[in-house]
Subunit: 334 residues, 2 copies
Amino acid sequence: MQWYFIAALLTILTSSQGILTTLSQSNGGYSYDYATVPFLAEIFKLVVSTFFLWRECNSSSPPRMTTEWRTVRLFPIPSVIYLIHNNVQFSTLTYVDPSTYQIMGNLKIVTTGILFRLFMRRRLSTLQWMAIVLLAVGTTTSQVKGCGEASCDSLFSAPMQGYMLGLLSACLSALAGVYTEYLMKKNNDSLYWQNVQLYTFGSIFNMARLLLDDFRVGFENGPWWQRLLSGYTITTWIVVLNLGSTGLLVSWLMKYADNIVKVYSTSMAMLLTMVLSIFLFNFKPSVQLFLGIIICVISLHMYFAPVHMLVDLPVTSKRPTDTLKEVTVQQAGE
Amino acid sequence: MQWYFIAALLTILTSSQGILTTLSQSNGGYSYDYATVPFLAEIFKLVVSTFFLWRECNSSSPPRMTTEWRTVRLFPIPSVIYLIHNNVQFSTLTYVDPSTYQIMGNLKIVTTGILFRLFMRRRLSTLQWMAIVLLAVGTTTSQVKGCGEASCDSLFSAPMQGYMLGLLSACLSALAGVYTEYLMKKNNDSLYWQNVQLYTFGSIFNMARLLLDDFRVGFENGPWWQRLLSGYTITTWIVVLNLGSTGLLVSWLMKYADNIVKVYSTSMAMLLTMVLSIFLFNFKPSVQLFLGIIICVISLHMYFAPVHMLVDLPVTSKRPTDTLKEVTVQQAGE
């Protein structure tokens, strides 16, 4: 399968996630406990991966599986990072307002680039670095509050701690992504076996989080397993399946493409959601969104297009037999 | 002289123009007739160019001067285009509000690129086209009205004629620039001789415009020559000299560099003015301005940086003996 097909699918599913979540609300609120959704999505991913692993085990060429503790013990680490990230996120929001938090979230694109360079030792060209910065600038542009919007919180008025925590949050989020990529590419183990390990720990950590939340509020809503499926509608189930599917696609990209591809997919999904919201929820289209889309599309082209499509190379370096597809694959794997 | 030195100087002077014009106001209005400023600037440019031409004529190698009517008759054309442009601008403003007009003005960057390609037959790489679009997007981003601003005119609410006239205005402005470049590069005539022709017609057309304005209001403010220097302060004279100097620099760039260099200079000047206004006039810095600056700086680098600085070229096409300067000059003249 080509990575750009998976990336496009990820964009569509990630974009649907926001829209489906909005559609799953009734009377402006959730009739179900939203915190249970990621847990069920984790279970879904575990079930799907286990099924495919079982099929692989019964095939003529059984999958490569490293079962040494030295390797297995690395798989809870992404979950631990996400857990820390969640808490940092929570603290950040006590210092900054949600829209400032959203804007700062785009820093993740740049920190992913930096950690990707450091940990995966992938050289990026100056043009690719500029593309990454432009992607962050483009998504930020689309989110800038326009003239005449209701709340007008200033971006520059939060205390210093807020910005520091926002930066830490962006680093942790990038670290989790890059670390997962490192894990997936570390050896030639079957993707499904790696997924099973990842999602087993993911399910455990998600369960622990639900339990922790219960303790925090003194079980006033009862234990989480009693709330697990209450108020679930068909839309809620679609939200769960959709979230699970995006997770499986991300996992595939981590093994066969990279974090930058994922970052582009999710950024494009954010813009797609905003465009669809214009039609679905009567959102007012803004100049910012229009400008943001142009910037991100140019960034995408700068990062992924083969060099000879962007600049006129001296004749000696042109290889006229290369097709677009071949060159793209070479770039992604260099 | 290197073109980038002149371009940087043009940026500084163009940026000063806005600030000096604001400083020349007293009690929020002009104590002088602003329409007389461009006329005097035209006279200043004519005097300076005549002086340098006279010096060239007395030097050991007299300047090349084509005095045939076939060539001279082309020099009023830029003035005619500017006159039409002024009237279109005036009509546009009856349909759209000034901030929408300002935003549409950035279209000029893209139309200049297109006309430059068509008339000057200069091939631009895909990367350079993307850079030009980004420059327009970047300047637009910096001008987007932020949250909580006083007037909130919508960009999308003007009648169709307004947008059509805005587009025509952008085309005319670009046409005047590209046509001037064509004139200056048409032959190897002395720059000063070309300037003398350009500014003679410029002065005449400016005078005609002042007279026309007088007729329009039925001479209620008296004829223009009576208002010419009334209310002029030392700052007003600096505004005149500054405007004249920017004109001379533009003329130099048209002959020895090109319209794209000019467009970058004036766009950067617009951003510089906004940054300086934060310090000088207590303007509130906006996220949009910050994002716009990043976009324009990246665009500048994309357009002008030599290819080997942007991407990793195959070894065969690298020429390690090239210095940055040499490659830049080759790019500009290719």
